[in-house]
Amino acid sequence: MTGYLVRRFLQAVLVTVIVSIIVFLLLHALPGGLVRAQLGPRATQAEVHNLQVQEGLTKPIPVQYLIWAWHALQGNLGYSYKMNQSVGSLLARFLPRTLLLVGSAMVLAVAIAIPMGLWQGKRRNRIDDHVLTGTMMALYSMPSFLLGVVLIVLLNLDIRLFPSTAQNFGTSVPVDIADLVLPVLTLCLGNVTYFSRYMRSATIDNLLEDYVRAAYAKGASSNRVLFHHVLRNSLTSTVTLLGLTLPYVLSGSLIIEALFDFPGAGLLFWNAAQTRDYPILLGVVLVVTVATIIGNFAADLAYSVLDPRVRYT
């Protein structure tokens, strides 16, 4: 188990390094460049050159990368001239909100999808299975912003239950909770589809396994077989899926935050993109990616706890 964890951890570190190089190169390969974006189109050649020297942009690219990476390791992600704050302090304010949004949506999605997938697997090809599958297919076919709009129309315009923008997020706890409802629901419903689909087919597969027959032969009740034996074995694949969908959910949060004006890292990034605030763009992409990699790593850890076959090899 320790060997597996060490290998898995080194792999996560390697992926982080690769991603950081990709991010760094992408931003430096882009037309216009960092200095032009900061000084504007009318800056003279000398001004551009001065700032390039000052920012260390005349050094060779690998050296620049190492300097940037060294600073990033120390938590120094640069300074946003447009927001007049360090990227680190901006992220400290905005990222927890995004994590709250994404976390609640994932927990809710799993809480819905696991019982639903078990139920559908148990009642395969009955009418209720078909109805649920149809509903899930319809949800899958909607782009998340359309789903969000449908929820706004139903829960905001029609019955005025929840606010359709989260502009006031962060003022007080009741306001925050009300503000979170629609964004979390939108993000959650978009992901229930994937999880429940996996859970359903895992349940179907597991119900055909020998250990289920053995459990029945021992006289275990149908419910015990389902919740005690099948659930644990079906959970493993869902946990892996959870790690794999994390980048998609984070991507989704970008759209959801833009749609609901939710002041998280996504909206920060979105606004930074409009003003070409490179330090923020670079910092957010890096931090969000590292969060994804940590999430994947955590999913693998959970997987090894749930599935003894991983633990002992």
Binding site: N125, M137, Y140, S141, L146, I204, F269, A273, V288
Partner: protein, 337 residues
């Protein structure tokens, strides 16, 4: 477990063909693929052998009849043909001016002159949907084709050669999969003037990853088959083995994946349209039309919102159901092997 199961019913026997309709003693979709794959491994070309033992339906007719059994899949194929006709043949019959904008006719509700009202720029909404559908379908198909081709080669190489090549190629895939894609799209949208080709490339750059994973897994198991060993013994070079011997055997899986990929690409194209990356005007996409509708949501301009939303949902749904139907065909074919 798989060896003890009864052979799947033949198509002519009057038994239902779809795995979904088979009696409870039958096998689930997942095992249906695995079972014949292991049990017929020694028979190099199982199809011809089985043909000597029992009457065979010709493969194409079998495929068509399996597909025809799935009423939903047939219906979705019809729907897709209608949508393609709507987008590409529609403008030939229904003439509208989609280049000039006119503020006098902006945001008009449906009426005789404009059956679906007008856009915020005063263009005919119905004609706009046709134009938007063109780019949407083009992106969907192009991405599916490119991503499948690229992912196929990548996955084949990784799976067939294994070892170091596999490790390097798949770590690259892992790294790219853990990048939250839409963040890069937003970045790009703020930096460059996009066009159709570029958008296709951007979506392909993320779409091929899952195909590569899928193909690699298949190639990993297919390379141990006897017919591959036989080809190697005859001195066939890797390209020939990969494309003449292994590829035909995973083509079915790849085609199903490609169909679902069209659906995913259309969704992704709509999403990045919302984030500001789309084809330059006067061309448009359903995602952009929908976004305009969302911006006017609180004005009650429903005709700018629901028709575009409906078209996206119905197209994505149709491709997803079609992919499901094709999967039945492929699994049926695998069972015969």
């Amino acid at each position: 477990m798989s060896e003890t199961l009864p052979p799947p019913p033949l198509s002519g026997s009057g038994e239902p063909l779809l795995p979904d309709h088979s009696p409870p003693a039958g096998e689930s979709n997942a095992t249906a693929v695995a079972a014949p794959a292991t049990s017929t491994a020694p028979a190099a070309e199982g199809v011809s052998q089985a043909g000597e033992m029992r009457p065979m339906t010709p493969p194409l007719r079998l495929a068509l009849s399996t597909f025809a059994e799935n009423k939903l899949a047939v219906a979705s194929a019809v729907v897709l043909l209608l949508i393609v006709a709507f987008c590409f043949a529609g403008p030939l019959i229904y003439h509208t001016n989609q280049t000039a904008s006119s503020l006098i006719t902006a945001n008009l509700p449906p009426r005789a002159q404009f059956p679906l009202g007008t856009t915020p720029n005063g263009r005919d909404e119905l004609g706009r949907l046709m134009v938007g559908g063109q780019s949407t379908l083009e992106v969907g198909f192009a991405v599916a084709i490119f991503a499948t081709a690229f992912g196929l080669v990548w996955g084949l190489v990784a799976g067939y050669f294994g070892g170091f090549a596999d490790a390097v190629l798949m770590r690259i895939v892992d790294a790219m999969l853990s990048i939250p894609f839409l963040f890069f799209v937003v970045l790009l949208a703020s930096l460059i003037t996009p066009n159709l080709i570029l958008i296709i490339l951007v979506i392909t750059s993320v779409s091929w990853l899952s195909t590569a994973r899928l193909v690699r897994g298949e190639a990993l198991s297919l390379r141990t088959r006897d017919y591959v060993h036989a080809a190697e013994a005859f001195g066939a070079r890797p390209p020939r083995i990969l494309f003449r011997h292994i590829t035909p055997n995973l083509l079915g899986v790849v085609v199903v994946n490609g169909t679902l990929k069209v659906a995913d690409s259309i969704l992704l194209f709509a999403s990045i349209g919302y984030l500001g990356l789309s084809v330059p005007p006067p061309a448009t996409s359903w995602g952009v039309i929908l976004t305009a509708g969302i911006n006017n949501l609180f004005d009650g301009y429903w005709w700018q919102l629901w028709p575009a939303g409906f078209l996206i949902v119905i197209t994505v749904l149709a491709f997803a159901v079609l992919g499901d139907g094709l999967r039945d065909v492929v699994e049926r074919r695998l069972q015969k092997r």
